[in-house]
């Protein structure tokens, strides 16, 4: 599934899009944190198919998951 990254998370991962398969949000988070441990330094939210999710939900192959951090600058 397509993973979209924004802001500082793009800097951590080195690109703004990833292709990762996971069964749910928790397992996706685990995979990403294993591969990019520096993601642990930042707070960010998950959105599935352009809607923010508050809990662990099942993911399907065609889903698009976005990792959204807040932006401090102004």
């Amino acid at each position: 599934m397509k993973i979209l990254l924004f802001g500082v998370l793009t800097d951590v991962v080195g690109k703004s899009k990833l292709d990762v398969n996971a069964t749910d949000i928790n397992s996706l988070k685990e995979i990403l944190l294993n591969e990019f441990p520096d993601l642990n330094k930042y707070k960010f939210q998950f959105a599935v198919n352009k809607e923010k999710v508050e809990r662990n939900i099942r993911l399907s192959e065609g889903d698009e998951v976005a990792l959204l951090p807040p932006f401090a600058g102004g």
Binding site: K52, A72, G74
Partner: protein, 300 residues
């Protein structure tokens, strides 16, 4: 005796006329304003009624930096009747690349004062209130209370959470703008549209702050100058829409702009009061809450 009473009556009548004139001038457009705003008056969506709503409105801009400068220019030019400008900082040479209200000769001068002078030159028919103070727990409620809409043009998470909490307690909508290098975010929080439920707040989008992330501001990460110009202008645009009641307000979602790929993404956000546990329960509680922490990694 008769003539004395007559003079008194005349004076009373004149002062009454003076007050009435003042009231009329505060809510109605004069000839010069009708010319000045003619291109907005031509828009059937705005017209005279919308322009008078702008004139009667009061908007507070918190932060006169990258986002605040363009927002202030467009709000002033559009004819927002009263604009408050909160900023305790002075103009720095490194601001000039993106904060276009300021010129080289303004370096080291108060941003709130310079911004006030500049936008009053742009539009002398509005009222501008410079507030050369740091926006803090102790004064947040007092500063926001007199305004209809607030703009979050700040450059740190602490002030953003404080501003959110104060607006929630005072039931005011606020327009959030945030930037990072080449990317920007925009949303209208705590907005109630007629016939709909109230929209989400900043804490519904980002429930808790990680102060380690607070270091990611423009002065440390760098920022492309055009980005705050775009996001700040969009913030002013949302304000004009809310005041005049036109279009669809950017509530219930965060708009994310990437200026390098010129792509816009929208993330839907739901109002969720279960995420509000860090919002003070009362104005008194907010005034004593500590938002500004120095130790990194502490959640508030």
């Amino acid at each position: 005796m008769k003539s004395h009473s007559y003079r008194l009556l005349q004076a009373d009548k004149n002062s009454r006329i003076g007050v009435i004139d003042l009231i009329i001038s505060a809510i109605m457009l004069n000839k010069e304003e009708i010319t000045r705003y003619s291109k907005q008056l031509l828009l059937s969506e705005i017209g005279k009624a919308g322009q008078e709503k702008l004139k009667r409105s009061r908007v507070l801009v918190v932060g006169a930096g990258g986002l605040g400068c363009p927002a202030l220019q467009y709000l002033a030019a559009a004819g927002v009747g009263t604009i408050g400008i909160t900023d305790f900082d002075v103009v720095d040479e490194t601001n000039l690349q993106r904060q276009l209200l300021y010129s080289s000769e303004d370096v080291n001068r108060s941003k709130a004062m310079v911004a006030t002078e500049k936008i009053l030159t742009l539009n002398p028919f509005i009222q501008v209130v410079p507030i050369n103070l740091k926006f803090e727990s102790e004064n947040a409620i007092e500063l926001i209370s007199g305004y209809d809409i607030v703009l979050d043009c700040t450059d740190n998470f602490e002030t953003r959470y404080l501003l959110n909490d104060a607006c929630v307690l005072l039931d005011k909508p606020f327009v959030y703008g945030g930037i990072y290098k080449f990317e920007g975010q925009l949303s209208v929080f705590n907005y109630k549209e007629e016939g709909r439920n109230k929209g989400p707040t900043y804490r519904c989008a980002f429930p808790e702050m990680h102060s380690g992330q607070a270091l990611l501001n423009c002065s440390l990460t760098g920022v492309i100058g055009t980005l705050p110009g775009i996001i700040g202008t969009l913030q002013a645009n949302e304000v004009i829409k809310m005041i005049t009641g036109i279009g669809e307000v950017c509530s219930g979602k965060i708009l994310v702009l990437n200026t390098l790929t010129l792509s816009f993404a929208e993330i839907k956000i739901n109002r969720n009061e279960n995420l509000w546990c860090d919002i003070p329960k009362s104005i008194e509680e907010l005034k004593t809450k500590i938002y500004f922490l120095s130790s990194p990694g502490v959640l508030i």
